[in-house]
Amino acid sequence: MQTKRSTYQNRWLPFLLLAPQLAITLVFFIWPASQAVKSSFERTDAFGFKTTFVGLENYARILADPSYLNALGRTAIFSVSVTVLSMSLALLLAVCVNRVLRSAKFYTTLLVWPYAVAPVVAGVLWWFLFNPTIGLLPHLLDWFGISWNHRVSGTQAMILITIAAAWKQISYNFLFFLAGLQSVPQSLMEAAAIDGAGPFKRFWTIVLPLLSPTTFFLLIININYVMFDTFGVIDATTAGGPGQATMTLVYKVYTDGVAGLNIGSSSAQSVMLMGIVIILTFIQFRYVERRVNY
């Protein structure tokens, strides 16, 4: 890893400068994470008196636990639907904004602000719209003969959290797609137009392939977002219900650990999640264009 050509010579100063960051990292990140790893191999008895080393038993148990496998499946469905929904809407909007020249900035301003809305608040907003008693959308759906009650129907609950989580993420995806579109060389588009390719053909054969690095990057970021940042959305709308239909991995760590106080199982689940983040981070740094070089 590089430094400047010439550097300062000082024995203590660099350590002093790094001290706050390292202290916080060690105390609040590395120590707790190592504790999670440690207690994932242990079992504590019901009264908290005795802790015994049990090896991989906690892992074996959660992997055999239908409710954990259910959460794994739900998380997969949730991730894929939010990612597809928010990325496709964002791409559509970005393509449109990229076409209008004069009002592009105006539309951008009106599309980016949901980034600043907290996930819990996004959950509350959509929960309110879909509220079976007073919500607007259930009344609308009633005309089409659909009876909406996400407190009863697991599918509807999943649709609700998907919409709320995707709504908040559109602005982020939109900005990155727009930046990607603006870097497509105009000369390519003109050359294709002269060769007789219409707007849709140009989009499929030129723009979309050139956007693939952006798309891949967003794919990773979105999966990361859905897995870890949607706790608030779920807690505000369905709290994992009905009947665990919207129980994601992170929400399960929380309910098992905080509400259920099952430390061993919760730690094993945490460690599994860490594994997922490590894989995602690795993919992001290894395959996504390297913007951070070290």
């Binding site: 890893m1 590089q2 430094t3 400047k4 050509r5 300062y8 100063l13 660099p14 400068l17 790094l18 706050p20 960051q21 916080i24 990292t25 060690l26 609040f28 990140f29 120590w31 707790p32 994470a33 999670a36 559509l92 909007l93 449109c96 904004v97 076409r99 209008v100 020249l101 539309y107 301003t109 949901p114 980034y115 600043a116 809305v117 907290a118 819990v120 608040v121 509350v124 309110f128 719209l129 008693t133 007073i134 919500g135 607007l136 982020y172 003109e190 707007p199 970021i221 990361n224 870890f228 706790f231 608030g232 505000a236 760590v253 730690s267 945490s270 999640l273 860490m274 983040v277 070290y294």
Partner: protein, 282 residues
Amino acid sequence: MVERRPFLNILTHLVLIAGVLIVAFPVYVAFIASTHEPSAFVRGVLPLLPGDNMFASYRQMLSSGWQVGGTPPVWLMLGNSLIMALTIAIGKIAISIISAFAIVYFRFPFRMLAFWIIFITLMLPVEVRIIPTYAVVANLGMLNSYAGLTLPLIASATATFLFRQFFMTVPEELMEASRVDGAGPMKFFKDILLPVSITNIAALFVIMFIYGWVQYLWPLLVTTDEDFYTIVLGIKRLMASSDRVPAWNLIMATVTLAMLPPVLVVLFMQKLFVKGLTETEK
């Protein structure tokens, strides 16, 4: 534009207008709900046009709060959110910029180790280490305090990387010239490096402020004393009591007030916001 396509242009605008409306719709409905009397919600469907109870709802929430909902006045929660967001944003920037300075401008033993320790924080979001981190904070006696709310969220690998990368692009000559003039490292940092980093600092500040403002899981764990409730957490507490007394106008007034500060930051500092977002990438 490559060629003239009047029909496609109209379609483009229609799609965009539809998009803007869909994005804004939930917030509009929430705002409308906050302007009505509580009785408006008994009839069934939500009204779509503003009522005349707006000032009363907001005044009540800001000044006295809502006793049944069990939350303190909104201004107090807004204040807590502001303290939390500012501390996190300033703290992250401060500790990251000095660590990046150390990593780029000094050669010292264990430099790589320090870098990797910082890098690891990327892989350990709060969500995966909830209980042990809570235990650490509890042992340090920081539950229900601003330190407990903010310190565990302040370490930042992304900010350190961003500053590191920016420092690598700062011309070598600046440092050499300052050294010839007899300035030591801290003087160079304060008088030259900080001023040239100001745009990056501002962009990062916008992103980190929002990050701090929207935190939910962490405040939920470490605050049980309502004096330390943040506004985002307060909303959840209000929701919990909505089954008993559905005062939607008050809840939605709080929701509107909770969204306002970070949304205004994005709208008024859009340029910095976009820069911060695209450079930190997450």
